[in-house]
């Protein structure tokens, strides 16, 4: 996009600026649309689980205008702020949370090449920004001035901060398998049949997915780990004093984060934009035969990705309406006593699995192979890596990885 604008002769800051703005706009549409969709799904699924219909009147039989209706209602609500509140922080908190969640979407690759901004350390950026969201909640709890919201904020901070650790460990497992932190690279490696998905790659990644799912739900404060907004104890946790649009922003941040985390789960374990069956390659919708086919293929991939993410959101909603809530000490104990050790075990397991599988499938010729760097430090995903590279240690080289998986480079 930016290079195309550059050719048109714009000044570089104008070109990059406008390209960035356009992409930000697209991502904003996505970040605003998914909470509305998720809210509608939550109401409908909750209704089904509880043997009732859910919204049916707003906008036709299925009540699909319910979310915009809620949004408008929240917009029209009076803008309340408690007297004991700290005015600046009280207003700032929801937007801080929302921006953090917005940044999560920046690195999610919707299709091959369709990532708003992709580095080769995209996953790391995802984790770094995820840590910011809890700061918004803490500010909200503190700025509301009431004991109960302070309680809620402290609980949430304790929970989210402690669940970042197992989440970080779980996320590293697919990185070890893929050998790169670039989400597009990880997704591209899972092309083809669903057997190529990392979740079926080896028993360790399979177990890691379930730990990831549990930790993601806990990290998002979704039931059965939704302590901070535990209605029964803390009324509404940190969001007690919020109403109207500010509360809606918190609400959107939560649902968008839910979508982002299940999207990340889809990329890391369920093959990102690759469907279970390689339909795109059968229909020839690949970028090699023309930009139009490539575009259609990417559209299909986008559909795949969105469906997988929504599947994850559905599971979270389903869990919320069937399971009671855990106590704060049980949640923290589960994190430190079960999730972290298990995730570490899985990490060690997958590392050995990778090392052993490479030794078995592509034994090295005798003598040591030295690792040789090309002129500029090579980028792993670039693949500009000479075939046979001697390495100082009996080290599985990149090419070993490539040949083992039969990737044509």
């Amino acid at each position: 996009m930016s290079s195309w604008l550059l050719q048109l002769g714009f000044a570089d800051w104008l070109a990059y600026g406008s390209a960035g703005l356009i992409k930000a706009g697209l991502v904003l549409v996505l970040v605003l649309f998914t909470p509305m969709l998720a809210l509608w799904m939550e109401r409908k699924i909750a209704g089904r689980i509880q043997d009732r219909l859910g919204p049916t009147r707003t906008g036709g039989r299925f009540g699909w205008l319910q979310s915009p209706a809620d949004g408008i209602k929240l917009l029209m609500k009076e803008d309340l702020m408690p007297a004991a509140a700290d005015p600046l922080l009280f207003r700032l908190a929801p937007y801080l949370s929302f921006c953090a969640v917005f940044c999560l979407f920046v690195v999610l690759p919707m299709a091959d090449g369709w990532a708003p901004a992709g580095w080769d350390s995209a996953l790391f950026f995802f984790l770094a920004v995820a840590g910011l969201e809890v700061f918004g909640v803490i500010l909200a709890g503190y700025a509301s001035g009431s004991k109960w919201s302070l309680f809620g904020a402290m609980r949430e901070a304790a929970q989210v901060v402690s669940y970042e650790v197992p989440l970080g460990l779980c996320v590293v497992v697919p990185v070890v398998v893929a050998g790169s932190m670039d989400l597009e690279e990880i997704a591209r490696m899972q092309e083809g049949w669903f057997t190529r998905w990392f979740i079926f790659h080896d028993p360790f990644t399979f177990l890691t997915f379930w730990i990831y799912a549990a930790c993601a739900m806990a990290g998002l404060n979704r039931a059965p780990f939704d302590l901070p907004e535990a209605e029964s104890e803390l009324v509404a946790g940190f969001a007690t004093e919020y109403s109207g649009f500010r509360w809606a922003v918190f609400f959107m941040a939560e649902y968008a984060a839910m979508f982002a985390w299940s999207g990340l789960g889809a990329i890391l374990f369920f093959g990102g934009w690759n469907g279970p069956v390689p339909v795109a390659s059968w229909l020839g919708l690949v970028s090699t035969n023309g930009p139009l086919a490539g575009f259609l293929g990417n559209l299909l991939s986008l559909l795949n990705f969105l469906l997988k993410a929504l599947l994850g959101v559905t599971v979270m909603i389903w869990a919320r309406w069937t399971l009671p809530r855990l106590r704060i000490d049980q949640v923290i104990a589960m994190c430190w006593k079960y999730c972290v050790p298990l995730a570490t075990l899985m990490l060690v397991g997958v590392v050995f699995w990778q090392a052993i599988s490479m030794e078995i499938f592509s034994p090295k010729p005798t003598g040591s192979c030295t690792v040789r760097c090309s002129s500029n430090p090579p980028r792993l995903s670039q693949g500009a890596w000479p075939e046979e590279t001697p390495s100082a240690f009996p080290l599985p080289t990149r090419s070993g990885l490539a040949s083992q998986r039969g990737l044509v480079r």
């Binding site: 000044a11 800051w13 004991a84 090449g113 901004a117 840590g131 910011l132 980028r379 001697p390 100082a392």
Partner: protein
């Protein structure tokens, strides 16, 4: 100043933010405002790293400092949450001493900065060829045609972990066999030491816990809640 280029604009923006945040930490009375200002300055520092092309360090800055330390600071603030924050009145003398010491430090810094040869000739930063093409890092065109000079730092870091001296690779084309020359990189041992350090700190914190019997305090009869 000739035609402003994107990196220069961003650079000034982030540098300004960083300085403003730092000053904010000093100026604000309320401790939560200080935490907010600290957050702004550290995030701006992360931005500076991104402009400098060191995306990994930028991310680490974001994750460790902004995501970790400031959250812990806010956590600490909330645990000792006092409604009426004590406003520290700083007597005049301390202001004077502070300004004096700060001033000297500033002078020394400015003197050393201006003494750097490259920055003397060029007034505008974009003239310095050394600055890697930041835009490539920040806003990468979606269609993966990464400009040739595009240098992600994750890859080389990975190899450096395995003992490859990536920084020497730039000079000589063929990398000498690491074992013969014995110039094995020490990044991995360095990392292990830091992890070890974390464990030691956690152990120390655990051992240094205060040990004293709890004194039960009965609820005053008919405690009326204020």
């Amino acid at each position: 100043m000739n035609e402003p280029s994107l990196p220069s604009i961003l650079f000034f923006l982030f540098a300004g933010l960083a300085c403003a945040g730092a000053v904010g930490v000093l100026v604000f009375q309320r401790i939560v405002y200080m935490a907010g200002a600290l957050l702004v300055s550290l995030a701006a520092a992360a931005g500076l790293f991104f402009i400098a092309g060191a995306d990994f360090v930028g991310l680490v800055q974001l994750m460790v400092y902004v995501g970790g330390t400031v959250v812990l600071l806010a956590f600490g603030v909330m645990l000792t949450a006092r409604r009426n924050q004590p406003a520290w009145q700083v007597p005049g003398v301390q202001w004077a001493v502070g300004l004096a010491v700060g001033g000297c430090l500033l002078v020394v810094l400015l003197w050393t900065v201006l003494a750097v040869p490259q920055w003397q000739t060029a007034s505008a930063p974009e003239a310095a060829e050394g600055a890697p093409s930041a835009p490539g890092v920040l806003v990468r065109s979606g269609s993966r045609q990464t400009s040739p000079s595009q240098t992600g730092t994750i890859g080389p870091l990975g190899w450096a972990m395995l003992g490859v001296r990536t920084e020497q690779a730039d000079q000589s084309d063929a990398l000498p066999d690491v074992r013969q020359t014995g110039q094995c990189g020490y990044l991995l041992p360095f990392e292990i030491i830091s992890v070890h350090l974390v464990l030691v700190l956690v152990g120390a914190a655990f051992l240094a816990r205060a040990k004293r019997p709890p004194e039960p305090r009965p609820l005053e009869q008919g405690a009326k809640v204020g």
